[in-house]
Amino acid sequence: MAGPVLEMRSISKSFPGVQALSEVNLSVAHGEVHAVCGENGAGKSTLMKVLSGVHPHGSYEGEILFQGAPCAFKDIRASEQRGIVIIHQELALVPYLSIAENIFLGNEHASRGIISWNKTLTHATSLLRRVGLDESPHTRVADIGVGKQQLVEIAKALAKDVKLLILDEPTSALNGEDSRKLLDLTLELKAQGISCILISHKLDEIAQVADSVTILRDGRTIETIAVDADGISEDRIIRGMVGRDLEHRYPERTSEAGDVVFAVEGWTVQHPIDHQRKVVDGVSLHVRRGEIVGIAGLMGAGRTELAMSVFGRSYGRHTGGRVLLNGTEVRTRTVPEAIGHGLAYVTEDRGRLGLNLTEGISRNISLSALGKVSRRGWVSEHEENRVAESFRTSMRIKAPSVFAQTGKLSGGNQQKVVLSKWIFSEPDVLILDEPTRGIDIGAKAEIYTVIAELAAQGKAVLIISSELPELLGMCDRIYTMAEGRLTGEVDRADATQESLMRLMTVSAATQNEQV
């Protein structure tokens, strides 16, 4: 193998308030499969956006050398012209166009604006053969499965004369067989001289195809490991991925867990469109009164999907399992039912699913429990504002008044409004999904205190988080999930970042072997 095809040197990129990348180095040799690993939020996607021109030249520091020449991409088109193609986790295909049309979308075989269908079809057929996809180029993309769609994406990349292919979590939506096919294809492409960057959480995949691994953590390069003949040490990768500093102070609390309040048994959920896929697969867990329980898992582990489907079947198609409150099975088929049984779900996506951004603080807080400030269907604004004002003070929501539009608040204050809304509904069980995502350290500490208080009041709290220190700092017990299944349950005393990460990166194949 010759010298590096790609060198990224000292790449730094910051967003207002956040240093996403600092001094990251990445060097990909010609004709290798190079894996990039890291926790959620480690900077993998940002790095790839810098490389592909989504974050244009000038918006970051550092330099990129591709095939020895410096690059200054101003957009994706510019990077694609040089042969760098990124395939995102969320596929970018147009469902109602044919495979051939998709392959050449934006890159049509045409003269003077008129498409030559003969050229298009011949070329498409040869590309499909190259990626090993046995479908007619006339087939609509909507009519083939996700695995095949992934191959169409790669064919599309080949049509652009790709030299460096970036695959972002390519197998997260695929079943075992499709995953294997895809990984084999990367090896074939490698033999044809196409280099590949593979972003993946699955360590067995990496061991299978990668020639070297670069580990990112908190926007920094930790190390690059060459995979030699003996394979790769998973422990070493895990050690590199975790080990974030325990930067926050967590409230002191003594756990006095009581009886089991909330339990889920054998919960199984199918993907809303692709019914073949089990997004959540036979999950059973429980939370006691006054206990804080964590769910750890990487992207695509099915944590949010589990929570949302339990909370009024708000995600996917439920096919099995039951919810128990204080030992009795309850119906939580609709959100009002779930709320009625004392459940509350604080979403990870507060802008889209948590708040009405055009309304003020007061009306957002009262929304899920309007009945409490109303008499016979009529809202008492006086009472509503009083309640909102008391939350504004106790939660220290920084806003000029309870009428301030929530869309204009900072992330931390928005999160406090969402939390207030659900605390006001007086639930017995609170499911908090990434409760401190995207908020500053000061607000984080305040939210931790609130969570600890809720547990002290005897509520059962379930925290879904991608930040392992947060889970270790707050929880009494931690469940781990991977690919829709529960892969472990660890007491706080026994848990370390390494042991959790090991459970979070178990793949379905390995799970089956263990069973």
Binding site: F15, P16, G17, V18, A20, N40, G41, G43, K44, S45, T46, F311, G312, S314, V335, P336, A338, I339, Y345, T347, R352, L353, L355, N356, L357, T358, E359, R363, S366, L367, S368, L370, G371, S374, G377, W378, V379, S380, E381, N385, K398, A399, P400, S401, V402, F403, A404, K408, L409, S410, G411, G412, N413, K421, E434, R437, G438, I439, D440, A443
Partner: protein
């Protein structure tokens, strides 16, 4: 990536609205500006309405605000205003209704056939008409809310359906005349009571009670705001505002009282305005409507029954369209196949001029009325000064575009 979302810090919150001491040295300009910013479109439209009235009052040598013309203005626009109330609610819920003009015509035709050809007593026919409206609304609401067909499509279908239905029911003919009682809905006035004065007594009484209620409401609102430590207008300005309200109500009352008195249709409108205004602001149902329109996903995750809300909004629209159809038929004293053409467009324009947002979740019932009045006064004023209907349409189109454009511009400025 999660981290990239943190685009602002806690510090910026306070910058947008620094705490100012009421009446302090902070300057009145900024305080007023802040007070206006929240409802800039509605205040803006109120000011625009006043300007338009002033311009035409001068241009028509005072004809615009003569008692006779005021009464005309109300009766001419009443059905559009009724539709605008319902349309505003549908738009707040995040939908649109293109069928209301046809539905109004259809219901008017059905009532006409009942009263004229089958001698059904008019109160019974009116009740039946409102029920037909509710049923039509439920029909459309079912497809929109429970089946999930976009409201634009369902109500476009309804527009054709009810227009065709009107022609079938009337067999292409106008059906007339109506009983006296029915005509009164649109052209009647409150009866004269008490001793003879130069003015219509009941109208004066009504005007004074409206004035008293309005002042009471303002004072209560101010006191409550002060209790929460919110900014309030300095006392002088507050009194000036009260004075302006009082003057407007009194002048309007005297104008009406010096002619035939209080039109019955204005009473209907007033009741609708107050009832729906209160419903949208202070009922759980109203709140849920704003929540569904503002962020449907978040509202559903908060336990709001979104489908039911949308369904009810369309049922309500159906009833109001029926009422508007009755008022229009009564005014025309006939059921005709041509009734209600373009009413839906006038109602939609009124709602948007009055502060609705195309994406839903924003708007007030009062706004719809103001928007409707802007259009109504423009119509009436331009007709009085002899501008042809061709140019009238051009001007109204530009006004709609300008009103919404102004709002979009303002939001962008506030957002940056």
């Amino acid at each position: 990536m999660a981290q990239t979302k943190t685009t602002d810090t806690t510090g910026t919150d306070l910058k947008t609205a620094p705490p100012a001491k009421p009446g302090g040295g902070g300057g009145l300009g900024p305080l007023l500006a802040r007070a206006l910013r929240g409802n800039i479109r509605q205040y803006g439209m109120l000011v625009a309405l006043a300007l338009i009235v002033a311009v035409f009052q001068i241009w028509t040598d005072g004809i615009l605000l003569q008692p006779l013309n005021i009464t005309n203005l109300i009766q001419q626009n009443s059905y559009i205003l009724i539709l605008a109330i319902g349309m505003m609610i549908v738009i707040i819920a995040g939908h649109i209704d293109l069928s209301v003009g046809s539905l109004a015509a259809f219901v008017g035709a059905a009532a006409a056939v009942m009263m004229v050809q089958h001698d059904v007593p008019w109160p019974l026919a009116l009740a039946a008409a409102l029920l037909i409206g509710a049923a039509a609304g439920a029909w459309q609401g079912f497809w929109i809310a429970y089946v999930g067909i976009p409201s634009f499509i369902v109500t476009l279908a309804g527009m054709l359906l009810f227009r065709g239905g009107t022609q079938i029911v009337l067999q292409g003919q106008s059906v007339a005349p109506f009983p006296k009682g029915f005509q009164e809905i649109s052209s009647g006035f409150l009866p004269e009571v008490g001793p003879h004065t130069d003015y219509h007594n009941l109208t004066l009484l009504l005007g004074l009670s409206v004035l008293a209620l309005a002042v009471l409401q303002e004072v209560r609102g101010r006191r409550q705001a002060a209790r929460y430590g919110l900014e309030v207008l300095p006392l002088g300005f507050f009194l000036a505002k009260l004075g302006a309200i009082a003057a407007a109500v009194l002048v309007f009352t005297l104008l009406l009282a010096s002619y035939h008195g209080f039109p019955i249709v204005l009473l209907i409108l007033g009741v609708l305005l107050v009832a729906f205004g209160y419903l949208m602001r202070n009922s759980i149902l109203g709140r849920h409507t704003y929540a569904i329109g503002g962020n449907e996903a978040a509202a559903k995750l908060s336990g709001v029954k979104g489908k039911r809300i949308v369904f009810l909004a369309f049922v309500n629209m159906g009833v109001l369209a029926a009422l508007a159809g009755m008022v229009f038929a009564a005014r025309l004293n006939a059921g005709t196949p041509q009734a209600g053409i373009n009413f839906e467009l006038e109602a939609i324009a009124a709602a948007f001029i009055g502060g609705a947002s195309a994406s839903g979740g924003v708007g007030t019932v009062l706004g719809a009325i103001i928007g409707g009045l802007v259009l109504g006064v423009l119509n009436n004023g331009m007709s009085l000064v002899g501008i042809g209907t061709d140019y009238q349409q051009v001007i109204k189109g530009l006004v709609l575009l300008a009103a919404v454009g102004f709002d979009v511009y303002n939001k962008r400025k506030a957002g940056s």
